[in-house]
Amino acid sequence: MSSREDILKTLRQNQPPAVALPDTQPFAGMKPVNADQFIQTFKTIGGALYEARDYAHVEEILRADFAAFPLKRTTLPQLSGIADTSWFTVDPHTLHDTEVMIAEALFGVCENGAVWITEQQMVQRAAMFIPEHLVMLVSKASLVATMHDAYVRIAELHNGPYGFGAFIAGPSKTADIEQSLVLGAHGPRTMTMMLLP
């Protein structure tokens, strides 16, 4: 007998009597959307945040604040004036010299400062993890209150499987050495949120 059959057989013998699933519906919509909470939480987890009027304003901020990093790449054609958009089909390993990556998330979560983005908006999966600095655009109107609301939104946004999706909450970090927090472990060393209307 294969291990698969073996395991399933033992499980069927040993499974306890059926227990019903609890209702998780009451958790959704339990709390109001609070943009200030999103802003504060994102800063607490090590992120920087700007409230930007539009793409032109984002470009203006990038020119001022990220002038020291010439190698910018973006997933957004609207920002091709300031960042490279010719990398969409290259070998992802070649993206390792990216200094700044600029992308746009689908929505943000107020309770933890995370944003949800899928492969479609990432263009390449590695692009969100490999740059030195990550700049993420997200609309204030897209915010949800909690992770329960987040999965309601995900169900609305995606009909089928999304290939790959991630909640990203701030710069990569570690506290493995004596619990001292260090920003910049293996992913981006900084994350800047551009909060659009």
Binding site: S3, I7, L8, T10, L11, R12, N14, Q15, P16, A18, V19, A20, P22, T24, F27, I45, P92, H93, H96, E111, A114, E119, R125, A126, M128, F129, I130, T146, M147, H148, A150, Y151, V152, I154, A155, P161, Y162, G163, F164, G165, A166, F167, A169, G170, P171, S172, K173, T174, A175, D176, I177, E178, Q179, S180, V182, G184, A185, H186, G187, P188
Partner: protein, 458 residues
């Protein structure tokens, strides 16, 4: 692996030799427990969340075979290859086969307690495969040729000066530099080369969703993503109990996991892997390794609800003062002590006794595992099966006789008091385990019974 090992108390004594280190270890873990409390108290619905998570996990355990089949079918639909491994050995062979197919001798790995449980690194090393652990804490203990001492904080028992020395030896950092920022950056630069050159990446799995066939990996460092997205082959190893029924249940578990583990609202990355990227292979290995048998033990099956947050370790007064290595098991602390005897009762018979039964572990557990009750129940089973030390068994028998016979009890009490008052050296010596690290109390002149008999007449 199968060599005889020292018992918890003896290993704890070794850890306790360095008092400053023990105090640091104790205070640091307690600080993490306090961070957990602070963030938990911000959610008035916390208890409701724990109860819901617990019920979801009960549902999972009662339908595990069905959910596994549903998950397998959906993962296959997504283009993922699903493997089944009855034990650690079979798991390791599957990984090795996949590496051989690629013709590679190197692999990057992100944190996976399951691969520690299966002793994957040792197995692959023997086959000539170089495994690089990419979580910073795991890399540190790997360079030091040690197992992790904590499931979330693998090198919590290391001081920064020692890590500085280790990195000086292996990564060529300047001697004497023990700055966490500097050392982390050195590791980042070194490991980046590994991420860019390895063709195969192995990750663990935090949650797998039956409904969609996707799995979720949570890290703060981004190492699982760096490995997976730059690899030609992504292998994800998971214990079969990691399943959850529906994607919306991630809302419950992701809110609980990191708040319980480190006091953060969420990990930096919660990555949902559903399909391989074009041109990539994705494999999932479903590992049993004793879990299906464990499920049949009614009193102990609850421990299969564990989501590996480590909160029970951070709060445990014994773990904090004895260190993870004293548990001689991939998962240490209270949860490790109730999981380990399922694998090997004889080898791990000491672990359920490494507890004060204070119950703090059960109070912080995000999925409401009755950890301290199970520790107590394991003691009953172990005593019945003859796995308790002979001296303790004999002492217990003497105690039982004394306590059940009032005459013997009265005489024994009187003798005890006389000895303690007149020849304290007889009890205050190394042979008496109660004298270790404490002073014996002053013996009263008379027992309560004697006092009562005297005073009743008045």
């Amino acid at each position: 692996m199968n060599q005889p090992h020292k018992e918890h108390a003896e290993l704890a004594e070794k850890f306790n030799a360095d008092e400053d280190r023990v105090n640091w270890h104790d205070e640091t873990l307690w600080w993490i427990r306090q961070k957990r409390d602070k963030i938990v108290w911000q959610l008035p619905e916390w208890e409701q969340l724990r109860e819901t998570a617990s019920q979801i996990k009960h549902n999972v355990l009662s339908h595990l075979s069905e959910y596994l089949l549903e998950f397998e079918a959906n993962a296959q639909k997504n283009g993922v290859t699903v493997h089944w491994a009855a034990n650690g050995e079979e798991h390791n062979k599957i990984v090795y086969k996949l590496l051989k197919e690629q013709g590679v001798t190197q692999m990057v790995k992100s944190k996976s307690m399951l691969t520690e449980e299966c002793h994957l690194n040792e197995f692959l090393e023997k086959q000539g495969i170089e495994v690089v652990d990419t979580d910073l804490g795991e890399r540190i203990v790997q360079l030091a040729k040690e197992p992790p001492s904590h499931i979330v904080l693998p090198c919590i028992h290391w001081k920064k000066e020692e890590i500085g020395e280790l990195f000086h030896k292996f990564l060529g950092t300047p001697e004497g530099n023990a700055d966490p920022q500097f050392l982390t950056h050195a590791a980042r630069l070194a490991l980046r080369q590994d991420f860019l050159t390895r063709k195969v990446a192995l990750t663990g799995v935090n949650f797998a969703v039956a409904e969609t066939g996707e799995f979720v990996v949570c890290t703060n460092e981004g190492n699982a993503d760096m490995g997976a997205h730059l690899s030609n082959v992504h292998i994800a190893s998971m214990g079969i109990e990691k399943l959850i029924p529906k994607r919306k249940h991630l809302g419950v578990f992701l809110r609980l996991l990191t708040r319980s583990a480190t006091g953060q609202p969420i990990t930096t990355y919660s990555s949902h892997f559903s399909k391989p990227r074009p041109g990539q292979q994705m494999h999932i290995i479903l590992v049993d390794n004793g879990r299906s048998v464990h499920l049949g033990k009614e009193e102990f099956r609850n421990s299969l609800k564990c989501i590996r947050c480590g909160a029970c370790m951070n709060t445990c007064p014994v773990y904090r003062r004895s260190g993870g290595h004293s548990y001689h098991n991939a998962v240490a602390g209270p949860i490790g002590s109730i999981l380990a005897p399922n694998f090997d009762m004889r080898k791990n018979a000491d672990l359920p006794f490494a507890s004060t039964l204070c119950g703090s572990c059960s109070n912080v557990c995000p999925v409401k595992i009755d950890i301290h009750d199970q520790l107590y129940k394991w003691r009953q089973v172990l005593a019945k099966e003859g796995h308790t030390p002979k001296a303790k068994t004999a002492a217990m028998k003497v105690m039982a006789v004394t306590l059940s016979k009032p005459g013997i009890f009265t005489v024994a009490g009187k003798m005890g008091r006389i000895v303690m008052r007149n020849v304290p050296g007889l009890v205050n010596n190394k042979l008496n385990p109660w004298f270790k690290q404490r002073e014996m109390p002053e013996a009263p002149k008379e027992s309560f019974r004697e006092w009562y008999q005297k005073n009743r007449k008045k």
